[in-house]
C-alpha cells in the first residue's frame, strides 16, 4: 500500500497536466495575495501620507472618504477569499481528481 502510494506520487509528480495545474494554482494564489497586500498597504499608506484626503467628506454629508474605503478593504478580503474558493472548487479539485483517476 505504502509502495503503491509512493509510485502514484512519483507518476503524478512527472505528469504534465499536474505540473500545469500547479502553475495555475500558484499563479492564482500569489496574484490574489498580491492583490490583498496591495489593497491593504495602499490603504495604510493613504493613512500615513494622505490623511487629509481620507478625512474629506463624501458629498455634503458627514461621512468621509476614509470610511467607505476602510469598509471596502474589509469587503475586498471576503470577495478575494470567495474568488479563490470558487476557482478551487470548480477548476482545481476536479482537475486533481481527473489526474489521480487517470494515473491510479
Amino acid at each position: 500500500m505504502a509502495a503503491d502510494t509512493a509510485a502514484l506520487i512519483e507518476r503524478i509528480r512527472r505528469d504534465p497536466e499536474f505540473i500545469a495545474l500547479g502553475r495555475r494554482r500558484s499563479r492564482l494564489a500569489w496574484s490574489l495575495s498580491a492583490a490583498m497586500a496591495a489593497i491593504y498597504f495602499g490603504f495604510i499608506l493613504l493613512v500615513a501620507f494622505a490623511p487629509g484626503w481620507l478625512a474629506t467628506p463624501v458629498g455634503d454629508g458627514a461621512t468621509t472618504i476614509g470610511i467607505p474605503l476602510g469598509i471596502g478593504v474589509i469587503l475586498s478580503a471576503f470577495v478575494l477569499t470567495g474568488l479563490y474558493v470558487r476557482r478551487a472548487n470548480r477548476d482545481f479539485d476536479p482537475a486533481i481528481q481527473r489526474i489521480i483517476e487517470r494515473l491510479t
Binding site: 502510494t5 509512493a6 502514484l8 506520487i9 512519483e10 503524478i12 509528480r13 499536474f18 495545474l21 500547479g22 494554482r25 492564482l28 494564489a29 500569489w30 490574489l32 495575495s33 490583498m36 497586500a37 489593497i39 491593504y40 498597504f41 490603504f43 495604510i44 499608506l45 493613512v47 500615513a48 501620507f49 490623511p51 487629509g52 481620507l54 478625512a55 467628506p57 454629508g61 458627514a62 461621512t63 468621509t64 476614509g66 470610511i67 476602510g70 469598509i71 478593504v73 474589509i74 469587503l75 478580503a77 471576503f78 478575494l80 477569499t81 470567495g82 479563490y84 474558493v85 478551487a88 472548487n89 479539485d93 486533481i96 489526474i99 489521480i100
Partner: protein, 528 residues
C-alpha cells in the same frame, strides 16, 4: 453585584460543562483529542475560527478605540482581517493535507523532526504565553469590574474552567465552546449595532454627524488621527497583523479538525465573512457609544466642576464603551447578557490557547523529540492533559504576577513572534524547495529572538513599562525588521547548506508538493 450577568454567565458555564462531559465521552483517540477526529464541518470550523479570533480584546478594545478616536479603530480592524485571505491562499490547504495535529507536523514533513519541532514548540509556547498573559490580566480586570468579583478569584475561575474544557473534552469541547461563544458574540453585537442604527433611522451619515457633535475632537474623528505617525510604523504594524494571523498556533490547529482541503477552504471563507462582519459591527458600536454615552454623565466619573472628561472619564476606561452601550440600548438585562458574553469570550480564547500549548508540549516536544515516536497514543494524550493543567496553573500565577503591569504590548508581541518565527518557517517549508533544516532553524530562531528583542527595546516596553528615558529601538512594531531577518536567514542559511541531509531534503520537496496539492496519503484525522 451584577445579578443578571452572573445568572447568564452561570447558564453559559453549565451549558459548556454539559458539552464538555459529552465531548469527554467521545474523545477516545489522540486524533479525537487534538483534532476532534477530523469531524468538524467547514461551516462549524468557520464559526469556531471566528470564535478563536474574536477575543474580548478585539470586541472591547476595538469598540473602545473607535469610541476614543473614531476612524483609527477602523485601521486596526482592517489589519486584523486581511491576514485571513493570505491564510487561505498560501497555507490552509497544504496545512490540512500535510499535517495531523500541530503546524510542526507540516514544517517537519521533509525536514528533521528534532530541531524543527523544538523550534515550532518554542514559537508556539512563546505566542501562547504572551497571548495568555494579556488575556488573563484583561479577564481579571474585566470580571472584577463587571461581576464585582475579586481579581484573584476571577483568575482562578478562568484558569479552572479552561483546563476543565481542554483536559477532559480536548478539541471537541474546545471547538463547541468556540462555536457557542461566536454565536452569542455575533448575536449580541448585531443587536447592539441594530439598536444604534434604528436610533438614527438607518442613516450612518446621521450617526457620524451626531458623533462629531458629541466627541470633544469633533470632525477629526472621521479621519486618521494619532494612531499612525510614520509610514514605517504603519507598514510594520500592518505586516505583524497580516502575517501574525497566519502564524497563530491555536488558529492553525483548527485546520486539522476538518476532513479535507475543501472543508479547510470553506472554513476560511466563512471565518473571513463572520470576522469582517463583526469588525463592521464594532465600528458601528464604537460610534453608537460616542453618540449615546458621551452626553450622559451617569456613565462617567465626575470631573472638576461637574464637567466629565468625555473620553477617559468613562467608568472603567474606554474599553468599557461597548459594555456601557449595551445598558444604554438594552437596559440591565442586556448589560448582563453582554457582560456574560465578554466573560465567555475570554474563556473560549484561553481554552484554544491552552490546547495549542498543551499539544506543542505533548505532540511535538514529548512524542517526537523526547520519546522519538516510541510512545503510545494514550501516553501522549495523558501528557497533553497534564500539560494543560500545568499551563492553567502557570497562567493563573502569571495573571496574578502581572496584575499591576501594563500588558497591552503582549498581544502585539504574540503577533510579532507568530509573524516572525512560526509563519516564515511554515511558509518556506511548504513553498520553497530550497528550504533546509538548518536554514529553517537559523531563520526561525533569528526571527523569534529579534522580534522579542526589538519589542523589549521599543518605546511601548522600554519607556512606558520599564521607565527608561528613551527607547533603543524606535518602533513599537518590529515585524518589518524581524520578518525580513527571518526570511533572509532561512534563505541564506539554506543556500549555504551543503550537507548531504540538505540535498535529501531538497529532493524530497516534489513528493511533498504532490501530497500538499492532492491530499494523497493525507494523515487524515478522520481515518481511525
Amino acid at each position: 453585584m451584577n445579578v443578571e450577568a452572573i445568572v447568564m454567565f452561570l447558564i453559559f458555564v453549565a451549558t459548556t460543562l454539559v458539552i464538555t462531559r459529552w465531548a469527554a465521552s467521545r474523545v477516545r483517540t489522540a486524533s479525537d483529542f487534538y483534532a476532534a477526529g477530523g469531524g468538524i464541518t467547514g461551516f462549524q470550523n468557520g464559526l469556531a475560527i471566528a470564535g478563536d479570533y474574536m477575543s474580548a480584546a478585539s470586541f472591547l478594545g476595538i469598540s473602545g478605540l473607535v469610541f476614543a478616536s473614531g476612524f483609527d479603530g477602523l485601521i486596526y480592524s482592517v489589519g486584523w482581517l486581511v491576514g485571513w485571505p493570505i491564510v487561505l491562499f498560501l497555507i490552509a490547504e497544504p496545512l490540512r493535507n500535510l499535517g495531523r495535529y500541530t503546524f510542526a507536523d507540516v514544517a517537519a514533513f521533509r525536514l528533521q523532526a528534532t530541531p524543527i519541532r523544538t523550534l515550532s514548540a518554542v514559537g508556539t509556547l512563546a505566542v501562547v504565553a504572551f497571548y495568555l498573559i494579556a488575556q488573563m490580566v484583561g479577564a481579571g480586570k474585566l470580571i472584577e469590574l463587571l461581576f464585582g468579583l475579586p481579581y484573584f478569584y476571577a483568575e482562578i475561575i478562568v484558569g479552572v474552567l479552561m483546563v476543565t474544557y481542554v483536559a477532559t473534552g480536548g478539541m471537541v469541547a474546545t471547538t463547541w465552546v468556540q462555536i457557542i461563544k461566536a454565536c452569542l458574540l455575533l448575536g449580541g453585537a448585531t443587536f447592539m449595532a441594530l439598536a444604534v442604527l434604528v436610533y438614527f433611522s438607518f442613516s450612518p451619515d446621521a450617526m457620524f454627524e451626531a458623533a462629531t457633535d458629541a466627541h470633544p475632537d469633533g470632525l477629526s474623528i472621521l479621519g486618521p488621527g494619532k494612531l499612525v505617525n510614520d509610514p514605517i510604523s504603519a507598514v510594520s504594524l500592518g505586516l505583524a497583523l497580516m502575517f501574525g494571523t497566519a502564524g497563530l498556533p491555536h488558529i492553525l490547529m483548527r485546520f486539522f479538525t476538518v476532513r479535507d482541503a475543501k472543508a479547510a477552504r470553506k472554513s476560511v471563507l466563512y471565518a473571513t465573512g463572520f470576522i469582517g462582519y463583526f469588525y463592521i459591527l464594532t465600528f458601528i458600536i464604537g460610534f453608537g457609544a460616542i453618540t449615546l454615552l458621551m452626553g450622559d454623565p451617569s456613565y462617567f466619573t465626575a470631573g472638576d466642576g461637574g464637567v466629565h472628561d468625555r473620553i477617559n472619564g468613562l467608568i472603567g476606561g474606554t474599553n468599557m464603551a461597548a459594555v456601557h452601550l449595551s445598558k444604554a440600548v438594552g437596559g440591565s438585562l442586556f448589560l448582563g447578557f453582554i457582560s456574560a458574553v465578554a466573560f465567555a469570550t475570554i474563556l473560549a480564547v484561553v481554552a484554544g490557547l491552552t490546547l495549542a500549548g498543551a499539544s506543542a508540549v505533548s505532540h511535538d516536544l514529548y512524542a517526537n523529540v523526547f520519546a522519538r515516536g516510541r510512545t503510545s497514543e494514550t501516553t501522549e494524550v495523558r501528557i497533553s492533559k497534564i500539560s494543560a493543567v500545568v499551563i492553567g496553573v502557570v497562567a493563573i500565577v502569571l495573571g496574578y504576577v502581572f496584575e499591576k503591569q501594563n500588558v497591552a504590548f503582549m498581544v502585539g508581541l504574540a503577533f510579532a513572534v507568530a509573524a516572525s518565527c512560526n509563519f516564515p518557517v511554515l511558509l518556506m517549508s511548504i513553498l520553497w524547495r530550497g528550504t533546509t533544516t538548518r536554514g529553517a532553524v537559523a531563520g526561525g530562531f533569528a526571527g523569534l529572538v529579534s522580534a522579542v528583542g526589538m519589542v523589549l527595546l521599543s518605546p511601548a516596553v522600554w519607556v512606558k513599562t520599564f521607565g527608561f528615558e528613551t527607547a533603543i529601538f524606535p518602533y513599537d512594531s518590529p515585524a518589518l525588521f524581524s520578518m525580513t531577518i527571518a526570511f533572509l536567514g532561512i534563505w541564506l542559511v539554506s543556500k549555504l547548506d551543503r550537507s548531504a541531509a540538505a540535498d535529501a531534503e531538497r529532493a524530497a520537496y516534489e513528493a511533498q508538493a504532490v501530497r500538499s496539492e492532492t491530499g494523497i496519503g493525507v494523515g487524515s484525522a478522520a481515518a481511525h
